[in-house]
């Protein structure tokens, strides 16, 4: 199984120190879900991932990275 990491935490701070709650409201999920995504404990659906990327005005691959285990 591969591992999905992300840049959400960094991007939030670069976007006016956006809180998890603010991001959650923008993409219509709970703050706990944003926290789980940020920590890599939950992989969002493709739709949610696109919505997160759109909030930061970034392409998907700049927000989420996939690394395959050897």
């Amino acid at each position: 199984m591969g591992k999905i990491s992300n840049e959400i935490r960094r991007l939030r701070f670069e976007h006016g120190e956006m809180t998890q709650q603010q991001l959650a409201e923008k993409i219509q999920v709970t703050r706990q879900t944003i926290n789980a995504i940020e920590q890599g404990k939950y992989s969002p659906s493709l739709e949610a991932a696109f919505r997160i990327a759109a909030v930061f005005g970034q392409p998907l691959e700049s927000v989420f990275h996939y690394s395959q285990d050897e």
Binding site: Q28, V29, T30, R31, Q32, T33, A36, K41, Y42, P44, S45, A48
Partner: protein, 135 residues
């Protein structure tokens, strides 16, 4: 703690309360344990239902916005997984009841045995949900 996690805790406490309230007398020596005491069960279920509704209303009053928000994709996934887990527990419990019923058919057909397994599977399902929420 999210609204749905709080709701799961309420459900867990209510179910455990119901189990202890109903099954406690069965543990006492001298109790034959074969009677499905419907009056006791109905009183316990009604009490748990009312307490559960009141507790959920209190939680909703403190977080009105969260209460109105539909579950998001992660919450739906957790709910689905916990249902599956709960079902697996129930299926094993029924197999166990069937196995025990080979030597003691009365046990399998005893409503209390099935009720106990059903409640335990529900508790395990809600417990699984809480673990997933807290991960």
């Amino acid at each position: 703690m999210s609204f749905r996690e709080k709701t799961a805790w309420i459900e867990m406490v209510s179910l455990l309360g119901l189990i202890f309230w109903y099954f406690w007398p069965f543990l006492h020596p001298g109790h034959h344990g074969n009677d499905l005491v419907f009056s006791r069960l109905i009183i316990a279920a009604a009490a748990v239902l009312i307490l559960g509704i009141v507790a959920k209303m209190v939680v909703a009053a403190f977080t009105p916005k969260a209460e109105k928000t539909p579950p998001d994709e992660r919450e739906k996934m957790i709910e689905t997984k916990s249902r599956r887990f709960s079902y697996a527990i129930l299926a094993w419990a029924v197999r166990l009841a069937l196995f025990l019923g080979v030597s003691n058919p009365a046990l399998f057909f005893n409503g209390n045995t099935l009720l106990f397994f059903l409640m335990i599977s529900e508790v395990m399902g809600v417990g699984y949900q809480i673990v997933q929420f807290r991960r």
